[in-house]
Amino acid sequence: MTINMGPQHPATHGVLRVALELDGERILKAEPIVGYLHTGMEKQAEYKTYTQSIPQTDRMDYLAPMSNNLAFCLAVEKLLGVTPPLRAVHARVLLTELTRLASHLVWLGTHAMDIGAMSMFFYTFREREEILAMYEQVCGARMTATYFRVGGLAHDLPVGLLERAQDFLDRLPGHFEEYTALLSGNPIWLARTKGVAVLPRERAIALGATGPMLRGSGVRWDLRRNMPYSGYDEYEFDVPVGEHGDAFDRYLVRLEEMRQARRICLQAIERLRAIGPGDYRLRDYKYVLPPKEDVKTSMEALIHHFKIVAHGFFPPQGEAYQGIENPKGELGFYLVSDGSPKPWRMKVRSPSFVNLQTLDTMVRGRLVADVITAIGTLDIVLGEVDR
């Protein structure tokens, strides 16, 4: 018997459709059918300048928007061969780790809600509201931030952000205790997640899984540690690795990642305080907008501003790929430039797209209820899968 789950379904985290072939309650084959949110972002990027494509990236993995911005900006900076100033680098780390926290909080809330623990949703969204308030303080938007630019940040960090972040991070361990107390020893949670949705180690690598999917299966691979970018090599943090590759291990990995993200944020705040006020954007006016005060007083700055806004900057002819450790896995942008202000090709290596291929491996031979657990533990975002 073949039944269809979705695309409108309360537990598919968006418009995912899964065609399940069943024998009674046992699953013979699970085939995800995607494309219900296909937005044509890669085609549209060929018609927009690099800076105009940054808002599009927010809408891909909309649970970790600044992480997407970071990946794109790093890819363009790699193509140009520039590095932003230190203040921008560490501000990016701070905000990206806060984004990781926000993304994992949504994951935890919705995964638990799907399995039946409804109250987790309310607890984690309460914490997430505070992170969104910080987003709003920084750039004005709660979710779709578009805060990073090629060469740095759009505007400087606002006064009071570091204190607010510090205060939030100080209260966070108490919340983590709440989550652990509610779930980690809960017999229902253990029954629903231990031994469920197992992804063996070799299969994970062969299928291209990355992020907590890979680490939960016992592979110690984290791009922040193994192929560092944006100053991560100066930070101290642990990379949690699971053992059995089941949903419970991935839950523990993500919970620990939240704690490590908090640790990185605290170090970033210290570093930003040590660096003090300074340049938040590169002063290379061929590619980056000059500061507004200069635009009003200097002719060259005015011309640079005009050229960059009206036409966009002209990168060299070439290509670059930059992958970062998104909360969901390896998010990468492959940019091909033909020398014009618009990219010739922008390809998004989306972690959820590749991770979703593992669904069939994880649920074959299991019961239908395990499909829900498997989709939850995959932590997919359909905006990213379909682009």
Binding site: G40, A206, G208, V219, M227, R345, R349, L356, R387
Partner: protein, 188 residues
Amino acid sequence: MTPLPPGRVEERLRARFPGVEIRRQEGEAVRDLTLFVPAASLVEIATFLRDDPELDFAMLSWIAGVDWLPREPRFEVVYGLLSLARAARLTLKVALPGENPRVPTVTGVWPSADWLERETWDFYGIEFTGHPNLKRILLPEDWSGWPLRKDSPLGYDEVAFTHNTSERVKPAPELTRLKPKKVRTRAR
């Protein structure tokens, strides 16, 4: 995790496949190691890269198609490989002609290529011979055309403003005839 010395991948490949034309992509702004390989030897080279204990490119990270219209060869299929043991990336490229582009599938080497090749088929119409399930994945199944090719339009829908629309659009008659009750929304 010992890193690979620079040039080692190319050296090993040329030593193992002496007759095959392997060309490195030159360019000041080509930021990653990119090698052009012919389509006919792709699967052999891929298997070697995966199984060799020194190189160990165990993961296929991404596949992209690029359309270079009007240049020939028109299409490029770009494979992004990742070696976890050596923390190294490698980009392989296969150049294909514009007429009937086809390349053998690497799903036998890396199962992650399954959906990645389907996506490239969906966008460009590049056929991956031997693929177990080459159907459209992101676009509707009955879609005709290859949207990411440079000769396919963006599909931009011209928005009607007063400066580009000559006639005022009148509302439909049935909407003007009804008069809803006046709602008192504030207490008196």
